[in-house]
């Protein structure tokens, strides 16, 4: 299957998932302890999962970049790291907004400043915002600095995940998933799968931007070789 065909197939799977999952969520049994507000769970966990996945993709691509600095493939690795960092901020924002909306009803507060799970998640978001700022305004050398930051940020993900086991937090443990009612579990897993495919589609789209950027840089080099760049300025 050609790349364009695969992309369209992924878009179709995402569209199908987005059409089916909401109706499954609406018809899912209401969780007896929390009531209707528990329905935020389906999207909140999915966006949290994508935040962590994206942070790991960024770290992996950053390692790939650092290992290939100076070669042609370095630009591609750097582009992937940049794309993943942007998506980490996008889904991280979703996670940090949907969580308090749930918490307000379930815990009676928007945010608990002493909660390690919440604070380490916020820290991850801040690091990735810093990553994007470094890449935007860092000038020459910002790719290497960003790569270091991307790897460092990913180290926060295991801390976020395990924080509920080590510290007393308001946040439920991930093990809650294993005890879910099958009527809740199916829409949850489908939402998770749909969001994961959506992530691949968005990453693909964003990588298209990087491909165009690389093409532009190559053309600028060619223009410089031809002595056209000064003329154009």
């Amino acid at each position: 299957m050609k790349r364009g065909g695969l992309f369209l197939a992924l878009v179709a799977v995402t569209a199908l998932g987005l059409a089916v999952v909401p109706s499954l969520i609406i018809n899912a049994p209401t969780e007896p302890t929390m009531g209707f507000i528990q329905r935020i769970f389906y999207y909140h966990v999915a966006t949290a999962w994508l935040t962590f996945l994206s942070a790991f993709v960024c770290a992996g691509a950053s390692i790939g970049y650092l290992a290939n600095v100076g070669s042609k493939s370095a630009q591609r690795w750097d582009g992937l790291a940049m794309a993943a960092a942007e998506l980490t901020v996008v889904f991280g924002t979703c996670m940090l907004v949907t969580g308090p909306l749930w918490g307000r009803k379930a815990w009676g507060v928007w945010w608990v400043w002493k909660d390690v799970r919440l604070m380490t998640a916020l820290l991850l978001w801040f690091i990735f915002v810093a990553y994007l700022l470094v890449r935007r305004f860092g000038g020459p050398g910002s790719a290497r600095l960003g790569a270091g930051l991307g790897i460092f940020a990913a180290a926060d993900v295991p801390l976020i995940y395990t924080s509920v086991f080590f510290w007393r937090t308001q946040h439920p443990k991930a093990t809650v998933v294993t005890s879910l009612d099958p009527g809740i579990l199916l829409p949850f897993l489908l939402a998770l799968a749909t969001f994961t495919v959506l992530y691949v589609v968005l990453l693909w789209l964003r990588m298209g931007l990087e491909t165009a950027r690389i093409r532009l840089e190559d053309l600028q080099l060619a223009a410089e070789d031809a002595g056209l760049l000064d003329e154009m300025r």
Binding site: H171, T178, S179, L205, L219, A223, L228
Partner: protein
């Protein structure tokens, strides 16, 4: 700071952080529990008047707004880059940049 001292420091921190965390304990919460707060307190938090359906609606709407915003932002940046590429291609002689990828 030498590498040896740095490695010692990292090892010490690696041991101290879980030790402090374990010392704090995880009492009050078992596997599979949603949270520490008693069930009654969770249903009607003091002063909470926003209906659950509104909060769920805001949460879902916000996610799709973010995703749509991201797609529009990528599309606009792509358009700008394509314009610059076209502009450069027009100005470059046909043989220049023949090795350009993409």
């Amino acid at each position: 700071m030498t590498m040896k001292r740095l490695a010692r420091l990292v090892l010490l921190l690696g041991w101290l952080v879980p030790a402090v965390a374990l010392a704090q304990g995880t009492e009050g919460k078992k596997d599979g529990e949603w949270e520490n707060v008693p069930a009654g307190a969770m249903m009607k938090p003091p002063g909470e008047s926003i209906p659950a359906s509104t909060l769920v609606g805001i949460a879902y709407g916000f996610i799709w707004l973010m995703v749509a915003g991201f797609v529009v932002s990528v599309w606009r940046r792509q358009q700008r880059l394509e314009q610059e590429i076209d502009e450069l291609r027009r100005r470059l002689p046909p043989d220049a940049g023949s090795g350009v990828r993409g």
